[in-house]
Structure formats: C-alpha cells, structure tokens
Symmetry: C2
Subunit: 683 residues, 2 copies
C-alpha cells in the first residue's frame, strides 16, 4: 500500500480521526490508554488488538498500553465468556457484550464474546461508539446477529475485470493471476468484518475458463493465502464453481450429477480444497442460467444438481449456495404467455423438500434483476422445507453504476419488512431469511459487492454507505435506516452537525430521486442493453431477455394478473396475491409491474399515469440539482479529495438525469400524443 493510497477515502469508515471534542475526551479518553487481553492470542484476537491500537493511537495521539492483565485504573478488556457464565445463554456464537464495569480503583470497558469473533465484532462496535461520541461510562449492550450467514459475492474475474463493477479493477486478480497486494485484501477484510460480514465468495458466479481452475492445485495455494487473511477477520472463503468442471478440467466426458464418476470426481475435488483450506465455506453455483452449464443438460433437476455437490461438501461442513436466477433468456418477445418474473418460482417451488440440509437457495430480492423498483420474489417463504438466502446487489448495476448516488438501504429495509404471510401475519421476509420462520439449518443474506481497486473502493464515495449499510442491516434488520446512516456519516465524515444533516438528506432522498427520473411505476428496465447504463426505453422491448413494458399509443405495463395476464400474482400468498391482482389495491409504485393501464389511468395520487411520468421526470432532475447544491454547502467541512469526488459525480449525475428525463418524456409524448399539462419542454 503506497502512502498515496492511504487517503481518507481509502480508509472509508475506519478513519479513526483525531478526536477534537475535548469534553468527550475528558470523560472517556482514559479508557483508550490501555488494552487488556488475557486469553490465547489467536489471529482473530490479534486483529482486534491491532485495530484497537491503531484506532486509539490515531484518535488520541497516544499509543495505548497492551497487557495480559489489568494494570491501570481504566482500560478496555477483551475477554472470553465461557459456557456456564451467566451471559453465555444470551449470546450466540457471533454475539458479544460491551459493558462498563467498575473496578477497585476505576472502571473497565468489557468486550466479551463466546468466541474470538464475537470479541472482534465487539471491538469494531466499540470503535463505532467512539466515532459517534457515545459516553462509555454507562455502556451496557448485548448484540447477537440476526442472520447466520452474512455474505458478500465478488463478481471478479481473474483477468482483473469485474462483472458489473464500477470502481476499477479487481483487488484480487490481475492478468489471470492473484495480485500480490495482500495488504489491500486485508483492508477489505477489515471493512467487511467491521460490519459483521462472515463469508465471501471471491470469484464471479459466471465462472470462465481460467476461474474454473481455482479449485485445482494451480490456484488453491493462492486461494488459501486469501482465505488466511479473511480467516483473521472471521470471514469464511467460498468459491464460485463451474458446474461443468469435471469436463472443463479435462477429467470426464460428462458432468451429470447422477453419474458415479462425476460424484466421485467432486468428492475428491472437495477433499483437495479442504486440504488447503480446512474451514472452506463451500461453493456458490450459477447453473442453467444465462447459458451457464447445469443439471438440465443431463435431464436432471436443480435438486439433483445441488445435492451432488452437497454430498461432497457435507463431511467437511461445507455448504452449497445454489442460485435461483434461472429463466429462459432466449425468449420470443412475441410470446406474451412466458413471463420471466414467474421463472424462479416455477423452477424451484416444486422441488421443495428435495434439497439436502446443506444446500441453500440464493434468491434475488425481486423476480427480475435488481431494478430500481420491482416486486419482491414470491419464492421467499414459499418453500418451507428448504434453506433460503436473500441476494441483494450492492453494486449499482441498474441504479446509476456509482456515477449516480443511490443509497439502497431504504430499498433493502422495505424488502426485508415486506410481509409475506407465509405463516400468516408476522412473517416478513426478514423472518424468512433469518431462518426463524421455518427453523432452517442454514439461512442468511448475501450481496454482490460494489468495490474495486479505485482509491476510494467504490468509485463514488457515497457508495461506501451501501457496503457499510448492507453489513449493518443484515446484522440486525430491525435497525432503522436513520441509525445506520448516522453511524456511517459519523465514521466517514466526522461529527459536524451540518455535515451529518446534509449527507443524511442526500442519502435518504437519493433512491426516490433516481427512481423519479428513470423507469416509472415499477415497470423497470428501459436501459441500454448489455451495459445497463443510461436510458433506452425500447432497449429490451423486442429482445430475448423477457423484459418488456408493452407501451403503445394507449397505455403501458405488464399484465401479470390471473384474470387476464400471465398469472404471476398467484405465486404470492393470498393476501398479497389479491392486493396485486386488483387495480384498486395494487400500490402505485408497482402498478406497471402488475398491470397494463391506459396513460389516462388515475393513480392513487390523483394524477394520470402520463402526467405522473412527466412530473416525476422533471422533478427528478430538479432534485438531482438540489443534491449538488446541498453537497456544495459542505465545502471545507469534509476532506477536500472526498468533497471533489462527490461533487464531480453529482455534476455528472445532473447531466445524465437530464438525458433520462428528456428521453423518457419524449418517448411518451411521442407515443401517447398527450401533452404535459404544464407545457414544459419535451423534445
């Protein structure tokens, strides 16, 4: 890591800025001068200590003392909670307590967990408390993560490119080799661990020729090195595998999951992997999807396909994470009966109960593909005998590609709170994917990463908030958006109330703003094919991808009702099915996802659809201009390099928002012939 790279932006939310608040220091500084760690010093505990020392040194200007027993009146004490301790029953493996305790001649702040990882998480939590200037005197909290698996998927290719990456090249690979910059990988591990991430798959789910060899002796020693770094931060390493590996690696002529040679091949392969990485997490698999190989080739289903891998992994405690993003990507646009939204449910629901215990189905939040707005996937809660994980996308593929600010925590929060009615009222998605509703062996939440080797990790520095927020939200989905936002801003930009207020507003408003000037009312897409950046209303309209809006001179939208459409609404539990089926109860923001309506249809807002389109698009651009004005007011109050980065992106966002506005409005004016009521310029 060159000095140049260690900019404020690079440090992200682990900046540990010098504390200028003398009042706080007067009351709390004393605890930051000594660290006590009495137990065995594992690599995870080492990570915790290293982080605390670095942080305290930067924050106070004094390096804290480190000892294995309490030697001063005030100290931070790392300690293990043993089975049988009172606190033990209140904690799960990753849980911890932080508690200020009087001692004979002072006070200790206890960071305690049942495991080293719990202690590491407690350390990061303590640092957040300090960053938000919490008084330590009375601190007393207990934390358990709600979700067991808290993962990140890297879509990195070994040539250094990142599929849907918008922040430079891979930090893991270049020129079809692992990079030597292990320090940067460690810094990434710190960022992830600080918000509770405990698993990472380090290569793209589309596994190309070179990456197929990651599970061979060619690359396993390198994978092991990376896994070692992550292990020090409590993060298990996973690999995405090519389902056709037995063929691609030249050993067999088939990859049929029911073929004995194939089954044995994978068993041997898994043995190899574990010989290098004893705590290896398992495989992430994209099979029979978008031209990837899979069990369909051999007339087998996805249960056959995943169970075969699961059997190989089971003896080692590994799991198979099997993606449900399976649909016909060679659809004929003329065939209105086929509905891509139906595909995952139609493929997987009939297989409920057939998957092994160590298979988890990974389901994207919506049935389409990470649109700015779409319905939630009806698969959540629909398979009560099958492990499920939710997949979010932190990288902003369809939400501005980190050139636009689009804070996704509010979207994810809304999705997690969505009531599925899977077991009647009280079973929102967050209670499905945390495993509590159906008592799953495995469950959790994952997301596609948004980082690359740009100095500030995420291209747009405000996009760091999405990575931070993802970790915090899946640790505890009951956290409010405001709590998460507040933590991130304090850690990243400090405690100037003006900065906190303005950045909060920018983040909070950004998703609705982006939605305003892009595709309206839940219909999605309308982007340029392939790269998915920028407006193209008919970009996918006549394509094989199954992503249509059916706009004509009278109206727009996809009829997914049972009564007259594709019948997709029936995939939801009754309460939601009937809500979406009826025009009267379908929420405005998803209207065009579920119904084809005339442009003159009146929304619940009282506006017609066409006027809504015009108004939101004009408004969206004005709001984007407002974002920049708001940010400009902070010059001098945040790090200058960060200031400039965000200012430049906001400037670009305005121009691009205008393109969106003008193309969408022009498209609909030309198509509908209905004039804007306010006579604004439409081309």
């Amino acid at each position: 890591m060159s000095v140049k790279e260690l900019t404020e932006a690079y440090k992200g939310w682990l900046r540990y800025e010098k504390i200028e608040d003398q009042d706080w220091m007067n009351e709390n500084g004393k605890w930051l001068s000594a660290i006590v760690s009495s137990g065995t010093c594992t690599t995870v505990i080492e990570s915790a200590i290293e982080e605390l020392i670095k942080a305290f040194t930067n924050m106070t200007g004094q390096k804290p003392a480190l000892s294995d027993s309490v030697q001063s009146s005030y100290s931070i004490v790392l300690s293990k909670i043993e089975e049988g301790d009172d606190a033990s029953n209140e904690l799960n493996d990753d849980g911890y307590i932080i508690q200020a305790k009087k001692t004979d001649n002072g006070s200790a702040v206890l960071l305690a967990g049942k495991t080293d990882i719990g202690i590491l998480y407690a350390s990061f939590h303590l640092l957040r408390l300090i960053q938000t200037r919490t008084n330590l005197e009375t601190v007393n909290l207990r934390e358990n993560p709600t979700n067991q698996l808290r993962m990140i998927n890297q879509w990195d290719n070994m040539d250094g490119s990142i599929e849907r990456g918008y922040a430079g090249e891979s930090i893991f690979y270049e020129n079809n080799q692992f990079t030597n910059n292990l320090e940067r990988i460690k810094d990434y591990a710190r960022l992830l661990s600080s918000v509770g991430i405990n698993g990472i798959s380090i290569n793209n789910v589309n596994v190309h020729a070179v990456e197929t060899k990651l599970i061979t002796n060619d690359f396993l020693p390198h994978v092991a090195k990376v896994a070692e770094i992550f292990r020090g931060y409590g993060i298990k390493t996973f690999l995405s595998v090519n389902y056709a590996s037995p063929i691609q690696l030249g050993d067999l002529e088939t990859a049929d999951p029911l073929d004995d040679n194939v089954r044995n091949w994978w068993k041997e392969k898994v043995k190899d992997v574990y010989s290098y990485i004893p705590d290896f997490g398992g495989f992430v698999v994209k099979a029979d999807s978008e031209h990837r190989p899979g069990p369909f080739t051999y007339g087998r289903n996805h249960a056959d396909g995943s169970n075969m891998l699961a059997e190989a992994l089971e003896p080692f405690g590994g799991i198979v994470i099997w993606r449900c993003f399976v649909y016909n990507c060679m659809q004929d646009w003329r065939d209105r009966k086929t509905d891509r939204a139906r595909a995952a449910y139609d493929h997987f629901k009939p297989l409920d109960g057939q998957f092994h215990e160590n298979v988890i189905l990974q389901i994207k939040n919506g049935p389409m593909d990470f649109q700015v707005r779409e319905a939630v996937s009806p698969l959540f809660g629909a398979m009560n005998e099958t492990n499920q994980m939710l997949e979010f996308q932190i990288t902003q593929e369809y939400t501005g590609q980190q050139k636009h600010v689009c804070y996704l925590i509010p979207q994810w929060k809304e999705i997690l709170e969505f009531e599925t009615y899977a077991k009647g009222e009280g079973t929102p998605i967050k209670r499905i994917v945390d495993g509590s509703t159906f008592k799953n062996r495995f469950s959790g939440i994952t997301a596609v990463s948004n980082i690359g080797n740009d100095t500030n990790w995420t291209g747009h520095q405000l996009a760091q908030a999405n990575l931070f927020g993802f970790g915090r939200l899946i640790w505890n989905p009951d956290l409010s958006v405001e709590e998460i936002t507040n933590e991130w801003i304090h850690a990243t930009f400090g405690n100037d109330p003006d900065v906190v207020e303005q950045v909060s507003i920018i983040l909070k408003d950004s998703w609705p703003i982006y939605e305003n000037y892009t595709s309206p009312l839940g219909v999605g897409w309308m982007v340029n094919p392939d790269h998915h950046y920028g407006p193209n209303v008919d970009g996918y309209e006549y394509s094989v991808w199954g992503t249509y809006h059916f706009a004509d001179c009278d109206g727009i939208g996809v009829d997914r009702t049972v009564a007259s459409g594709t019948g997709y609404t029936a995939q939801y539990f009754d309460e939601n099915a009937s809500m979406y089926e009826s025009l009267d109860t379908c929420p405005d923001e998803l209207l065009l996802f579920f119904h084809h309506v005339p442009y003159t249809h009146k929304l619940k807002s009282g506006k017609t659809v066409i006027q809504h389109i015009y108004d939101t698009h004009f408004e969206g651009v004005e709001q984007a201009i407002g974002l920049k004005e708001r940010w400009s007011s902070l010059e001098g109050k945040v790090d200058q390099e960060c200031y400039q980065n965000i200012l430049d992106r906001l400037t670009g966002q305005i121009d691009h928002a205008k393109q969106w506005r003008d193309i969408i409005n022009t498209y609909f004016l030309r198509k509908s012939g209905i004039q804007d009521e306010k006579n604004r310029t439409i081309y």
Copy 2:
C-alpha cells in the same frame, strides 16, 4: 492453400469448369490448344499466360501449347499495340481489343493492348467469353475502362479482424503480423484483376496502433511483398494512414499540417515507402471523423490537411485519397437543427479549388452511411475544381451482413445513373466520377471489400456477385445489370438455363425484398447500434450519431426541406432540390428521408404510409420464403457445397426477416394505433 480449400466456392467466378457443350467445342475448341506470346514476358504477361493455361487445361482437358510465334493453324495470340498502330488511338492505357483474325492456314484470336495490363484484361475477358459460350469465330471487340481508378478498400486490421467483415478473418493479417498465405492473396488478386480492379488499400481506414506502423521499416518489407503480388495483376497498393503518425510513431509532438517538421517528416516517410514499393499508389485517409485525428486538431482545414500529404507524394506520382465522411458524431438528439446529411457538403464544398491536383476526395454514395436506401450525396458534381471518387460498400454492413442475400448492383447502377444537373442535363453521377464532366486529373470509384478468409471468400456465396459486379460495373457503368448478372452466373454456376434463370431472379429481386422488410421509405437505420445487424427501430433515435426518424403517434420522417426543415435539399442542383423539396414530386422511396409526414399520408402508390409499411413487411417475408423455394429447385444442378451454403443462409434469412417484419410492424401499430387493413397478425 490446402486441397480442401480449393472448393468450387473458393474458385469463385474463375472456376473454368470442363466444357461439356460439344457443339461449342467443335467450333471453338481449336483456338484453346495454343497460346502465342511474342513480346517481353513481364510478370503481368506471365499472369495472363498462367491464367490462360490453367483455364484452357481445365476447360478442355488438354494443356495448350505455348510458343513465342504462331505455329499452329488456330491459336490465341497475345500482342502489344505500339504507338502509331491504327488501334492505338482507340485505346487508353488499360484498354484492349479482342479480335478473331484469319491467318494463312487458319485463324488467330488476338488479345492486344497498349500495355501488359491491357493484355491481361483481354485474357480475362476472353475467358468470360468462353464461360458464356460466345462464338470466337467472329469476335471483334474493343474495350476501354470508363473509370481511371478502380479501387478496393480493405477494412482489415492486423489482429486479423475486419471492421464490418462478415466472411471470416483477414486474408492479409493475423496476430498483428502479415500472414504467410501469399497464395490466397494471389488468388484474391486474380479475382480482382479479372474484373478490372487496379488499386487496393490493404488496411482499415481506422488506423489503430499497430497498423500505424505499416509505413515503418517494421512492416514495409511485408507490404512490399504483398504489393509485388498485386503488381503482377496490374493492381497498385495503397495504405490507409493515421493522420497522427508523426506523433504516434514517437518522432514529433505535433501533426499540424502547416508545421515544417511535420511536412518534412511525411516527405521522408514517403521516400521510405517508395524505396520499398516504387509504384506505391498513395494514402487513403480518414481524418477528423468518428474520433480519428485530423487537421481540425490544429485549427487547419481539410485542404491544408490533405495538401501536405499530397506534396510529399507528388514527386513519386502518388496520390492522396481523402475521405469526406466527416460529421459530428457527438450530436445532441434534442437539437433538430443539426443534420448529419448536410455535413460532408458543408465541410468540403467551401474548399473547392484549394486541393492539390493529386488529392482526390472520396465520397460515400449517400450522405448518411450505406443504407438500404438513401439519397445520393449532393457533393457529386458540386466541386468542379476538385477530384472526386465515389465510395460504395460491397460488404453488406446495413444490408444483411452476407447472411441475407442483397444484390447491390441494381442499387449502384441507379446511383451512377442519377442525374445531378451539375452542368445541366446529361451529367449523371457516372459522368462526374469518371472525370469527364470536369476533366479531372484523377477520378474513379472505390468500394469496401466484402471478403475474408471463409472458404468461399464472402460467407454467403451469392455475395460474390457483388464483388464481381462492382468490378464490371465500374469498368463500364453503361453495362446493364442483366449483362453483369448473366456473366457472373455463367462463370460461377455454369450454363444450365434453369440455373441462370432462377439465380438471375433471386439476385434481381433481393435488394427490393431486403428493403421491403427493413426500414421503410428511405428513412434508414432502425438497426441495432454498433453491430448494425437486426431490427431496432429506436436503436439510434436518441443517440449521438445523428441518425433519427422522429416517429411519433401521428407520423414519421426527417424534414430536410428548406421551407420547414434542415435545409438539406438546397445542397442539390436546382432541379433535384425542387424535386425533393416538394411532397408532390419527392419520390415515394425517399419520402421519409426528406419529409416528416402523417401515417395517413397517401403515397403515389395510393396507399397510406402506415399501410405501405405493413404491406411491404408482410410481403418481404413472403418474398424471402420465395427466394428459398426458388433456390431449392436447383438442388443437384449446382455444386452441392455451394447449394447447401446458400440454402442455409436463405433459411436463416427467412427467420430474421420475420423478426424484422414483426418488430417494425409492432412498433408502428403500437405507436400509430392504426390497424392493418387486412387484419394480419401484428404483435
């Protein structure tokens, strides 16, 4: 050349099939047994003799005798016409006569020219006469090419790719080197020379990093080898050059054409080139176009830019071919005043008279870019003190990419016959570009090649007809389409009357059919961006490329009139300007190129625009089906490999034509809301 490659398809129109017609052989076979060549045996004469021997041997089964004086009663005699001979005045340098002459004890067929090249052309012509079973007894003809420069532009890159190539990789390059397959280049030279081509630029007009070095010692020895092959067939070699070469090659910091160092740099560079290739043709230059460097960078105009190169080439007899494809490719679609069609005229017309004598402006046939139908470029004839060349595109970039059959000779013929009125009636384009109207020092016609390393050269074998026909048509633009077609079919498929009839019809109908199911009434585009294959009505509608149709719910078309539009019509001479300006006189097939009209506008055909769109698109598909039926009837009558190649392509064409039909019809039904009068299926 492996034996496998020497298929019938590879041989193209130089097949020299065994003559089975005994009647013809009885009367004519006698001449094919002896060849007499008395003059100096130059490489060009060697080429002629080699071709005749190969052809006669294959056609008759007997190798002809070769001698330097007449020794048998009947023979083919190659002879040079000296200055002062009667025939001399009737021939230009490339001209020739073919004449049967009684001798003492028989008859000789004389192939005579003022130059070796004339004699070579005469030899190829004789072979065509034989292929079409012409009786040689009374043959007596004189030929002079109408156009002085008859060129081919290869858009080949040194990595082996071909820009807009649809028939495999380059035959010249692979892996950033010249290929070793010189035999294939020689066969290409034979094909080109046989139809009179006398110049070729061997690299893409978009000159990338490696190709920039073609004018350096790294590559000039290889260029010289290729030039040597072409020289043997009377073809001069040209190179496309990077205008920024002085900078790119690392020698200077500017490429300013008025900078003395730059001028000297090019003079030295040209000297180098001629030291390797003494008859080097000159440079082809794409400057200030689509992000290519050019004189605009230095505040200079295109006369400054080209004259500088012209001065360097002048001492060696070289020329500069300067492309006029200059326009704003970063246009804002919201700005309706800018009209890409105007660009070439607006840029170049004001410079008339400022170009050196050895500069030729190369002008695409239309003002846009090789659409299936567009107006002709108003630059033709508009610059009476400037050399002009016409550029056609043989490679079917916008006309089906050699997956669809689209015989372009009828289109080119129409363009050449177009009356410009540049000097009143009687100055069609063919009389501008042949130099006769303005007595230009240099003039001619060029085209972008359609060949690659596919076995049959052109992917779709019927596309060979476009290469053949191009050569024949520019040799003599007065030839009829039927004459050219007839020659090609006889040479390629033999003399079965059924084959000749059916293939004639397929070729003749193919362009109108392709036009029927693609973009209507001259509006052009409506293709997928970048690769330009397949329908995408709005593909370029909101882009920077300046290629719009402005369809809304009421109507469609680009208003290019003076009265209410971009004023483009005024670039034509009065007669044409007023024809296009008025809705009453603008021809139907260009209606939407010049006017924006309601869908209900009545065409001269009596149909509305919208009904015309529906009808032609339904009809086009039926016609495509008809093409396949017609071809199927020829099974067994043509070489089986050729048969299958064409059948497969015609089958694919039908499917793709249906995509075109359905997307275009659906687009316009949705947009206009006007139903098809015949209630056919529109999606």
